[in-house]
Symmetry: C2
Subunit: 304 residues, 2 copies
């Protein structure tokens, strides 16, 4: 099956710890890498996870808190040293360019590639990126500053041809593309061979939703409905529910409630506060509501 | 003995690797922490080395290449989250504030402390910081952009009083400060008790020189003459000597030549290029010229 897998590079929150890096992850969709958030140290964890810089062309930044973007300048600088030439596109909310562009101009003035910043409106859910394999849609989140999550939806793949059947009916090459896309085949004497007899269907398209940082918000449910994997921030445990509300964050239990109501297949918790030396308390509280829950962790690779 | 010890937080060069962090180190002088350079990820290694953020008031930045300063904004942001109130002083060459100040203003606008940037002239060797324990002098270096190293010189410590002798001569408390500083004691009947009989001398003042990044430069020798420890960059091995010259860096052997000519007590090599999976080649080449050489490494603590 073609790749659709998530690498966790960092799943801590604002105060860094020796347990977790600040937020960053990479989604590998058919060997194209999409980075989501880029906290300090992201480029190092990217290397540790043995990902390839040359495959990375798009970075999505959810919001402009430092733990989600301080790693950008170091990553951009390193890509320059590695001789990158193709443009790098950063999709983010308004404001980043005011601080990032002067840094690029000063520290990376010899960079042989362009950094394009494309600004989205975090208040609406809209498609901000699309190619033949995937579309990326924003998910308006409820945080202290403008913030959006991202929904990655794989496109329906073409059916796989059955070589024996193609030979049996002696189907000309020019017909094959249409058949893959769903057409039946009509023989010279007018007989219809249905599409389903010539192909096996591709697997269902996969989907991944990233929701961090956010307070508990039921408004996101229609957007993330039924995704294969939901990464939802779970900064706090039940005991710190008031603090979660105050700071625009969620508890693990709230993340699970959203996962349950949105009928997602699997939940991954992340953006852990530095106050919990053991994140299993978060896993336990979430699992009571939504059993198919896992904890994010640096180096974790989740295949969808 | 009062502390004078060096913690290595990062000793790699511009391209980060999974072996080394970019440049940063911390000198602990009598429980005051002085940071030298601050590459990306410094705050994390600071925590790993179990250093205390509250003891850090001065940061010295040698030059404005990203691998020596990209960690500043993350560190400053974290100090704010930890509720720091005292000013943090960054000593550096001109230019840093143009990119750092807008970042602080945008990302750390609620920080409860002030960041002061004090600019030095990297072309001359002059004292840029001084307190009761230590003075810090710049060391003009030879690099592609303006760059200075730093010489930390401990001040002569006061002699230690011998309690038995103080009691024996029944010396009043008001006299003790003077005696510690070198005075003799005169008894009521005019007899002189020499300073040396009342005290034991303090250890000799210690000194540390940081020289990175720099091409081979004999001009630094008079400034670093006889230091207890010299950290000298050794980006390249002999085989890459031409590349060293071209990029304003040194080979390990050149670092050792400087150490030998400056008659330093010990040499530590650092700023290792990513091209050497094993830095022992650098240690071997330097040791042929200057045997008392060690390799820097993340987590290393060197007591002077």
């Amino acid at each position: 099956m073609e790749k659709f897998e998530l690498d966790i590079l960092g799943c801590g929150s604002a105060t860094p710890t020796t347990l977790h890096n600040p937020s960053s992850q990479v989604l590998n969709i058919r060997e194209k890498l999409f980075m989501i958030d880029c906290g300090e140290g992201t480029q190092l964890q990217f290397r540790r996870n043995k990902l390839r810089f040359g495959r990375l062309n798009h970075i999505f930044i959810s919001h402009l808190h430092g733990d989600h973007c301080f790693g950008l300048i170091g990553l951009i600088s390193t890509l320059g040293l590695l001789g990158r030439t193709g443009a790098l596109v950063i999709h983010t909310v308004a404001g980043l360019e005011n601080t990032l562009r002067p840094e690029i101009d000063f520290f990376c003035k010899d960079n042989p590639f362009e950094v394009k910043v494309e600004v989205f409106n975090p208040k609406v859910s809209e498609v901000i990126y699309e190619d033949r394999s995937v579309s990326v849609k924003t998910i308006p989140l409820l945080h202290r500053i403008p913030c959006a999550g991202f929904l990655f939806q794989e496109k329906q793949k073409e059916a796989h041809l059955l070589p024996d059947m193609i030979r049996f009916y002696n189907i000309p090459v020019r017909e094959l593309a249409k058949i893959k896309q769903g057409a039946d085949f009509v023989t010279e004497d007018g007989k219809i061979v249905p599409h389903g007899r010539l192909t096996i269907p591709a697997g269902p398209p996969r989907s991944y939703a990233y929701c961090s940082d956010t307070a508990y918000s039921e408004k996101i449910i229609p957007v993330i409905e039924g995704v294969d994997l939901l990464y939802h921030e779970a900064t706090f445990a039940d005991t710190d529910k008031a603090r979660a509300k105050e700071t625009g964050h969620s508890t693990a239990r709230q993340a699970a409630q959203i996962a349950k109501m949105a009928n997602v297949k699997k939940l991954m918790l992340g953006h852990f506060s530095a106050r919990y030396p053991d994140n299993n308390i978060l896993l336990e509280e979430a699992s009571e509501v939504f059993p198919n829950t896992v904890l994010a962790n640096e180096g974790l690779r989740e295949k969808l």
